[in-house]
């Protein structure tokens, strides 16, 4: 009956036909609209790249399935504008994969330009403090209101020494940041001040935020006035230029900073001391380090011309590798957690360390071809210790309690220029992990970008390829066509 009606003249030609046509087009549009809207929800997008950039591994699924916190991944521009940039498109696509995979994770887009106040409020930034960019991403816990530091788009990619993008580490970045927001604790990191420790502080702070310590959990401590706060998991002494107060001061005030450090270590604390080849002779600090089996000589510099990298403006660079067969649990743990197969740990302007093997162990060493100089005068050569650790372990109520004193001969573990092109930042995070502070995510690797370069093609070969792909098929087809055409003419 319906068929009969539809085949009448009225529905084939005329206003009714035009209406039916319009209805048909609207139905098609609606159908496509529904499919587009449901696309993400029902996994209508399948990755067909060889590298599987958007694949969430078992580690991520296991770690994030344990949390029921409502998490928002927030971008600060409209989605259609973000995905015009290839890099941001990858980050957005991965974020939406998280949203598809985990019901408690959602993705939001807020226009930073039009809704600046709202965007800054969501990022827990005041209207006049802290920068936020349209290519930043934050992770926010809707349950606790905790917010990650703004993650820049660049931080989702790894680069090599030449600043060439090597791979995409979006999964690791997102998973770590989500865990950091969900597992945020009251633990603190104390950054010692009062001895000229002024360099790389901004970058150090950013690295700590990336490791899960927001600004309120990083405490600047002047030991001449204050004690190390409770719940401090790691004390960082970054490039001191003045000595620490030990015993009675010349003013007779009796403040003993070294004693505070000793007491902190005895209470199972962790200290990281960063020195370099410009660190002066700091008597009290040196004595403190010596008592723990580690020493340095002011003015000595390590160089290694065989393995120099091109960080010219930062001075002579040394590639560091982990000391093997130390039988030291801390060294073994750091070595297994820090993968230096794809990028190096690079240290510049490094002073060599001496280690008393009964009290301390070498963590990072130079190559055997390294040389030590004092100004221009050669001192010695051979493998040099670049990072050392002195660890003590005791059982307290049947629980292992560790204290660790790390001494680095270079301040480049916290240098901004080396964040993404080396493993320096990874090493710092792993030191924080050893200090028992951070759930370091392991088992999530950077997905490398495929090498698509074609090299070694000569001009003659390129011409040959052009002929094969351009001329031959076309000429053959034209010849066949000519043959058929002529044959038909004759017929």
């Amino acid at each position: 009956m319906l068929n009969k009606i539809l085949h009448t003249k009225k529905f084939k030609y005329g206003s009714a036909a035009a209406t039916l046509t319009a209805i048909f087009i609207v139905i098609i549009l609606l159908f496509n609209g529904i499919i587009s809207a449901l696309g993400t929800q029902f996994s209508l997008y399948t990755e067909i790249s060889g590298e599987k950039y958007y694949n969430l591994g078992n580690t991520t699924k296991t770690l994030l399935s344990e949390t029921d916190d409502e998490i928002s991944i927030v971008f600060f521009a409209e989605k259609d504008l973000l995905i015009e940039n290839g890099s941001m498109e990858m980050i957005v696509t991965l974020a939406e994969k998280y949203s598809t995979e985990f019901k408690n994770i959602s993705v939001k887009y807020i226009d930073l330009v039009r809704n600046n106040k709202e965007a800054r409020a969501i990022a827990n930034l005041s209207t006049d403090g802290g920068t936020l960019h349209t290519t930043d991403v934050i992770i926010r816990s809707e349950k606790t209101g905790k917010v990650s530091k703004p993650l820049s788009g660049n931080s989702f990619f790894t680069v090599n020494d030449s600043n060439m993008i090597l791979g995409f580490n979006g999964e690791r970045r997102f998973t770590e940041s989500i865990l950091a927001v969900v597992n945020a604790s009251d633990d603190k990191v104390a950054i010692i001040t009062g001895h000229g420790e002024t360099e790389n502080l901004v970058n150090l702070s950013e690295l700590l935020v990336g490791a899960g310590y927001d600004q309120t959990e990083q405490v600047k401590v002047d030991l001449s006035k204050n004690d190390i706060p409770e719940n401090t998991k790691l004390v960082i002494i970054n490039n001191p230029k003045l000595d620490f107060l030990g015993g009675k001061t010349t003013s007779g005030s009796g403040v003993n900073e070294i004693e505070k450090l000793n007491r902190y270590l005895k209470n199972y604390g962790n200290i990281l001391v960063l020195l370099n080849n410009e660190t002066g002779t700091l008597t009290n600090l040196s004595e403190f380090l010596n008592e723990n089996g580690i020493s340095y000589t002011s003015g000595y510099t390590v160089s290694d011309t065989a393995e120099n990298s091109r960080y010219g403006s930062l001075g002579r660079a040394v590639h560091a590798s982990f000391k093997q067969n130390t039988n030291n649990a801390v060294v073994e743990r750091l070595s297994s957690k820090t993968d230096i197969s794809s990028a190096h740990i690079v240290m510049n302007s490094t002073t060599p360390l001496k280690v008393d093997n009964e009290k301390a162990a070498a963590v990072l060493v130079s190559s055997p071809g390294a040389k030590v100089t004092n100004g221009t005068l050669p001192v010695n050569s051979g493998e040099q210790v670049l990072l050392a650790v002195s660890s003590k372990m005791n059982y307290v109520k049947n629980e292992e309690k560790w204290s660790n004193l790390f001494v680095s001969g270079s301040t480049d573990l916290v240098h901004a220029d080396l964040n993404y092109s080396t493993k320096n930042a990874d090493l710092l995070r792993n030191i924080l992990s050893v200090a028992g502070t951070v759930d370091i995510v392991t088992g999530i690797e950077t997905v490398p970008f495929a090498d698509t370069n074609i090299s070694g093609i000569t001009t003659a070969q390129a011409m040959h390829i052009t002929r094969i792909t351009t001329l031959f098929p076309a000429v053959i087809i034209l010849c066949v066509g000519a043959y058929v055409f002529i044959k038909r003419k004759r017929l």
Binding site: T93, A462, I477
Partner: protein, 238 residues
């Protein structure tokens, strides 16, 4: 429907147009591939190649489709179509299928030659699944453009007008992405980008097989074929 399809296919191979189209498509495809991947960028990444081919379709597709219905109308042989026992949609679809077969077979052959070339000259051959995905996307977009060309051809008896209008419509469809950047209103911009062919093709070049995009391209073909059938229905009853 199949006899019409066979007739159209035979017409392509018994007249110069089919051979000329295939030769031009093969030459252009090979030339662009050589220029982009071998001479200029020296890369196995074929994103630029596929996008360049989509731009070439603004010129190629009208050449293929301009005569499909215009010629029938000019030669006054459309009466045979209008009085045929085969449904009008069947006839339209048969012509579309013949043009689509010629286009897609030629393009797939060219891409196969390019893929084999890349496999030989590069350290690492391109990922086949992603390459095939891109080919699928381009073929579906080509199919949609052919449907547009058929519709334009059905509106006029002048082949030149048919070709020019097809060119203009395809150009607008490709430029929607660029035009969207000039739209200030967020909602309107989203709508314009939703219709954009290149925005949807971007999934394929990014290594993602997008079912919504595939459905969109097929729907686009379907809509224009439907409109072509409606034009002839109206003409039949007029």
């Amino acid at each position: 429907m199949f006899p019409v399809y066979k007739r159209e296919m035979r017409a392509y191979f018994t007249s110069p147009i089919g051979y000329i189209f295939m030769a031009v498509l093969l030459a252009l495809s090979g030339g662009i591939f050589s220029l982009v991947n071998v001479w200029l960028f020296k890369t196995t990444d074929t994103t630029f190649y596929f996008i360049a081919m989509l731009c070439m379709f603004t010129v190629l597709i009208p050449l293929l489709t301009m005569k499909l219905f215009s010629e029938e109308r000019k030669a006054k042989t459309e009466q045979i179509l209008l009085t045929s026992p085969i449904s009008l949609f069947g006839i339209v679809f048969a012509k579309f299928a013949a043009a689509f077969t010629l286009f897609s077979a030629t393009f797939i052959f060219s891409c196969s030659v390019n893929f084999l070339t890349l496999s030989q000259i590069a350290k690492k051959a391109p990922v086949f699944s992603q390459y095939a995905g891109n080919i699928l996307g381009v073929i579906l977009i080509g199919g949609a453009f052919i449907a547009v060309g058929i519709f334009m051809s059905s509106l006029t008896e002048n082949q030149l007008i048919s070709a020019v209008t097809t060119f203009c419509v395809i150009l607008v469809m490709l430029l929607l992405r660029v035009l969207a950047d000039y739209v200030g209103n967020t909602l309107l911009r989203s709508v314009v980008k939703w219709f954009s062919v290149l925005d949807r093709f971007a999934y394929f070049t990014g290594g993602i097989l997008s079912i919504p995009a595939i459905i969109y391209f097929i729907s686009l073909s379907g809509v224009f074929l439907f409109l072509t059938a409606r034009v002839y229905e109206a003409r039949r009853w007029n």
